[in-house]
């Protein structure tokens, strides 16, 4: 859909998991959900986050694929692994800075969100965005988004020294124009709480 963009706002996620069910309904991958759904801190809180593939402009998953199975379409959507090519090596699973691709053991194949390109190409919203009651996953025009939210949509991420520009926007505090994550800050070794 021309002019429409995908916006992810984990702070609005209420954990209803409608997106998971809606994604499972899709004909192209019936029964397997492509939504990445996380409980942020399960022992201590009820916060959840649902997010989709961010569809990087220069996708790391595709760059590391030894079988040339992951392709970026004309619309900038990073597609699921091509079935005849994917060898199930899980390079993409390890390489993706967002942790999006999933290796489905039954099929020995990587499957990931393809932004419902079969729907968006004919003027429909992606499945998850149509059902999300809090619009944590939203597929709207930038103008509509600016009118609805105070948050700043960003599509530039820094993972250590790697800069990733994405097609999908993440809602960030108003003054931010990029998000920076250093993976080293989140490794187990840093956690004092787990020290004996």
């Amino acid at each position: 859909m021309f002019g429409y963009e995908f916006y992810v706002d984990p702070s609005r996620c209420i954990g209803c998991q409608s997106c998971l069910k809606a994604c499972e309904e899709c004909e192209t991958h019936r029964g397997v959900s492509m939504i990445n759904f996380d409980f942020i801190d399960r022992p201590d809180g009820i916060a959840t986050a649902a997010y989709v593939c961010f569809h990087c402009e220069d996708p790391t998953c595709a760059q590391v694929c030894p079988a040339d199975a992951i392709k970026v379409g004309e619309d900038g959507v990073v597609q699921s692994a091509l079935k005849p090519r994917c060898i199930g090596c899980a390079n993409c699973v390890l390489a993706c800075p967002f942790g999006i691709p999933k290796l489905v053991p039954e099929y020995e194949q990587m499957m990931k969100c393809d932004m419902c390109y079969d729907r968006t190409s004919i003027g429909k919203k992606p499945m998850c965005a149509t059902v999300c009651p809090s619009q944590a996953l939203a597929y709207v025009t930038p103008v509509e988004m600016a009118a609805m939210r105070r948050d700043q949509p960003v599509n530039t991420f820094y993972f250590g020294e790697q800069k990733v520009v994405t097609k999908v926007y993440m809602m960030a505090p108003a003054e931010r124009d990029f998000l920076s994550v250093d993976v080293a800050d989140y490794t187990w070794e840093q956690e004092d709480a787990y020290a004996i």
């Binding site: 996708p59 595709a62 760059q63 694929c65 040339d68 992951i70 392709k71 970026v72 379409g73 004309e74």
Partner: protein, 171 residues
């Protein structure tokens, strides 16, 4: 100092992750490639054949002294280089008055063969190839061709190498 933007490697261009930039080899290109390569191979073979016919006979093998009679004991060996420097050969005294010499290069993968006193044959240690001491033929192991034999000649009390047989060149 700003470094110049480097061109991505060819494989990245040919197998681009972007569908629009993909460059596949078309059927016509493949057939063209196959035809031209097989033609080049055909011409190359003809050239090798013609060159072989034009060159004529191989030069006479050199005659070099190898050892004195009685220099090595019965069952003993002596290494020498024949017909050129660097081509190791092995001389074996198999009996009181019997000498044989073979190229030391195993016809399988060119390891050096040695004379085994126990089995009384030439053994290649790499893959357990055994060659007969009588005529260099293969007794066991992966080699399929016999060892090239050095023709020996006795002049007074000196052994001379005067040529080679079984080299695979004579036909």
């Amino acid at each position: 100092m700003q470094s110049e933007p480097t061109r991505p490697p060819l494989w990245r261009e040919e197998f681009s992750v972007f569908k629009n930039d993909e460059r596949y080899v078309s059927r016509r290109q493949l057939i063209k490639f196959l035809t031209l390569t097989s033609m080049a191979m055909f011409v190359g073979n003809i050239w090798i054949l013609v060159r072989g016919k034009l060159q004529g006979k191989a030069p006479e093998p050199p005659v070099i002294p190898v050892a004195k009679l009685g220099e090595i004991p019965v069952g003993g060996v002596k290494l020498f280089q024949y017909p050129r420097a660097g081509e190791q050969c092995i001389l074996v005294r198999t009996g009181e008055d019997a000498y044989v010499a073979y190229s030391q290069k195993c016809t399988h993968l060119s390891c050096s063969v040695f004379y085994s006193q126990d089995s009384r044959d030439l053994v290649c240690p790499c893959h357990e190839g055994h060659f007969s001491i009588r005529d260099g033929s293969v007794l066991q192991g992966p080699p399929t061709r016999p060892l090239p034999a050095v023709t020996l000649e006795r002049r007074n009390d000196q052994l001379f190498a005067i040529g080679m047989t079984n080299t695979g060149a004579e036909q």
